[in-house]
């Protein structure tokens, strides 16, 4: 796995006391109580600093953050189309490069960040993101993943966990489980397919503390197109009390269901190593039973999810990241 031959130089935040105090995404947005995606917005811009331009695809973090011609953003922010997370980032980066080349604006480092939700990034905008990761522009795409189209009151997406109740997968008397797709593995998919992209990571905004801020700094320092996938517990769609949004993220990570890792120049670095040889993992039950969207699951369902998670960490070629398994013997 990670070796010490390459060193990534970046301005590391060593602890909570070193986090910049000033906000660039401030109060006065129409998000839910206990919104973790709002925490993602706040922290990525804290890590990036004021010399940043941000684009946001349609989704919760666009609609909730533009309540009737007002904004909580202090840095320049632009709304873009649902599937345009990647192309808007390329456009902004290309525009800045051209303006600097023509000396229309001073030469300086301006961070380009584009964020999209799990529907906008993982399903609809995937081709645009793939295109952006093949360029040589310095840009960061952040996919905030609350496992549903949460803005329009919780429709299932490709990143919804197996078995979850959504308005697209209501629990019925005949069919208990209506959502039978396994969560799409977007970060690893992008890392595997885009050799230009030197940095891909998954993160949880508040667990472990400071980790997400440093991942943003690494992504912005390494150069070229980069991608971060964040897991955001959503009190509205996952149906838990807003008070516990930190807990749910922590439980998801520690149960191994939400793997945290970085892929830096093709090397995998675990942020939370949920293998038995690493930090180990708690039963997924701890995480599932604390959410109303899984209230209908039976013991059998929970055991199935546990089996899938165990397989992911114990049997995959790159545990928690890439689902390849040994060599398949094919008879002639």
């Amino acid at each position: 796995m990670a070796t010490a031959d390459k060193v990534l130089v970046y301005d590391r935040i060593k602890g909570v006391k070193q986090i910049p105090l000033e906000e660039f995404y401030t109060s006065g947005h129409r998000t839910c109580q206990g919104c973790e995606s709002a925490t993602v917005m706040r922290q990525f811009i804290k890590a990036a600093g004021p010399r940043t331009v941000v684009a946001g695809s349609t989704g919760c973090m666009y609609v909730a953050n533009t309540s009737y011609m007002t904004t909580p953003w202090i840095v320049p922010w632009m709304h873009t189309q649902l599937g345009a997370g990647g192309s808007s980032a390329v456009g902004m980066a290309a525009g800045l490069r051209a303006l600097m080349r023509k000396n229309r604006i001073p030469q300086e480092k301006i961070n380009v960040i584009s964020f999209c939700g799990d529907l906008g990034g993982g399903d609809m905008g995937l081709s645009g993101i793939s295109g952006a990761l093949q360029t040589d522009y310095d840009l960061l795409i952040i996919m905030y993943d609350n496992e549903s189209a949460a803005n329009t009151d919780i429709q299932a997406t490709g990143l919804t966990t197996w078995g979850a109740q959504t308005t697209f997968s209501p629990v019925g008397k005949v069919e208990r489980i209506m959502h039978r797709r396994w969560k799409k593995n977007v970060a690893a998919m992008l890392a595997v397919g885009h050799p230009n992209c030197r940095y891909v990571a998954t993160a949880c905004a508040t667990y472990p503390p400071v980790d997400f801020l440093n991942k943003v700094r690494k992504a912005l320092s390494i150069g070229g197109p980069t991608f971060i996938h964040t897991y955001d517990p959503c009190p509205k769609g996952w149906d838990f009390h807003p008070r516990y949004s930190h807990e749910l993220g922590e439980l998801g990570v520690r149960s191994g269901l939400l793997p945290l890792y970085e892929i830096i120049d093709g090397q995998v670095v675990y942020t939370y190593d949920a293998r038995k040889t690493g930090k180990g993992r708690i039963p997924v039950r701890e995480y599932l039973t604390k959410q109303g969207r899984f209230a209908h699951l039976t013991e059998e369902d929970i055991a199935y999810i546990q089996r899938m998670v165990d397989e992911m960490w114990d049997e995959w070629e790159v545990p928690g990241v890439a689902p390849f398994r040994g060599t398949l013997k094919v008879s002639a």
Partner: protein, 392 residues
């Protein structure tokens, strides 16, 4: 003639409940030979947890369905309400569902001699002291109970739905008669306890109606913003960013002045600064950026922006340092840190008095109940103890 009922509720938490009540008013009115129509307020969607929302039911004894729908269907909000139901009593402090709306009085739409029906365990004067003075008299009816909160998927069947229908019958028998309410509930569920709950609420609310005179209430302290005209917008769809400004101390961070959203909360965090270890977690984890770092390393709270999610109280590692307290216990949004600096002992006394001795810890899945524990207050100079984590 049209009778208008509005149901004020907390977004998501009471969405299913309000919808059930609104829909059932129409169904019951239909049993009485009337025409009804119900819908939600358009601009509330997409709904967010805790934000004040409205659901409407319109009933007419003489209009046709088409006429009623034409009259009531396409409006953003109603101009007047014959009955205004409030499903969470903390909304009497005002409601601000979106930007450019302003914090408005909960009784804004009530007509002369109309009714406010509030689900609450408080006395009428404890609620009226937060409500705006009206130029005419109206009635305040109280349905005794706690605000029924649930999530999107797990409905909390605590009979609030049936009780509100019974209570409405007590306020206006022409709109809904108690016989029709009971008949409807029986036909729908064949469950005796639901019919009984409506009947009991009907009886108790009949004796819990209070006239509010034009002398009662307060002069509304919040300005209602004037919407900009189309020609006042800048070219394209451009919104001015919040100006960059930061210094240590209360309100040191610049914030969106056009949407303060503090009316989202039904509880607020109360901080014992003397127990604080300056760990930064409340500030770092707050999704609404309402903690202001102070020059001496503490974190002040801007209650105008706090939405009362309770995350700070949950992540705080010190026992009894941050505690969530019912929003109706507070009169203003002044800075708690300044209060503490001015009068350290007085502040702690005040905080402990507000906190009381009982702590309500909600279960993790919304609306599935809570634990109530009794605690001994930590004295001034008491040693900070580590807090127990409820979730992880």
């Amino acid at each position: 003639m049209i009778k208008r009922v509005e149901i004020n509720y907390r977004g998501i938490f009471q969405k299913n409940l309000a919808k059930k009540i609104g829909g059932d008013i129409v169904m019951i009115a239909a049993r009485m030979g009337q025409v009804g129509f119900s819908n939600g307020r358009y601009s509330d969607a997409p709904e967010r947890n805790g934000i004040p929302c409205k659901y409407f039911a319109f009933v007419s004894p003489d209009l046709s369905e088409e006429e009623l729908e034409a009259e009531c269907g396409a409006k953003l909000d109603i101009d007047e309400a014959n009955i205004s139901v409030v499903l969470d009593d903390t909304m009497v402090k005002g409601v601000e569902p979106w930007a450019w709306h302003g914090v408005r009085p909960i009784n804004e739409k009530v007509v002369p001699y109309g009714h406010m029906l509030i689900v609450s365990r408080r006395r009428p004067e404890e609620l009226v002291r937060f409500m705006a003075r009206k130029p005419y008299p109206y009635y305040l009816a109280l349905l005794e109970g706690d605000a029924s909160f649930a999530g999107l998927w797990v409905y909390r069947d605590d009979l609030t739905h049936e009780r509100v229908l019974g209570a409405i019958a007590a306020l206006d028998p022409q709109l809904l008669s108690i016989e029709a309410v009971k008949g409807y509930l029986w036909d729908k569920t064949h469950e005796e306890h639901r019919v009984e709950a409506a009947q009991k609420a009907f009886e108790s609310v009949r004796h819990n109606i209070h006239e509010v005179t034009p002398l009662q209430g307060i002069d509304w302290p919040y300005e209602i913003p004037k919407l900009p005209k189309w020609h006042e917008f800048s070219e394209g769809v451009v919104v001015k960013a919040v100006p960059r400004e930061f210094h240590l101390g209360p309100k040191g961070q610049s914030r969106n002045q056009l949407f303060k959203r503090g009316t989202t909360k039904s509880q607020r965090p109360v901080v014992r600064f003397d127990l604080c270890t300056k760990c930064t977690l409340c500030w770092l984890e707050c999704p609404d950026q309402c903690f202001d770092p102070t020059p001496d390393g503490y974190y002040d709270i801007d209650y105008e922006y706090c939405v009362g999610c309770g995350k700070c109280a949950e992540v705080c590692p010190v026992q009894e340092c941050i505690v969530m307290v019912d929003e109706l216990a507070f009169e203003d949004n002044r800075s708690p840190w300044e209060h503490w600096k001015r009068d350290p002992e007085g502040y702690v006394r005040w905080a402990e008095e507000k906190k009381g001795k009982h702590r309500v810890l909600p279960n993790v899945v919304t609306g599935t109940g809570e634990r109530v524990v009794e605690v001994e207050p930590v004295p001034v100079g008491g040693k900070p103890k580590p807090a127990a984590r409820a979730g992880a």
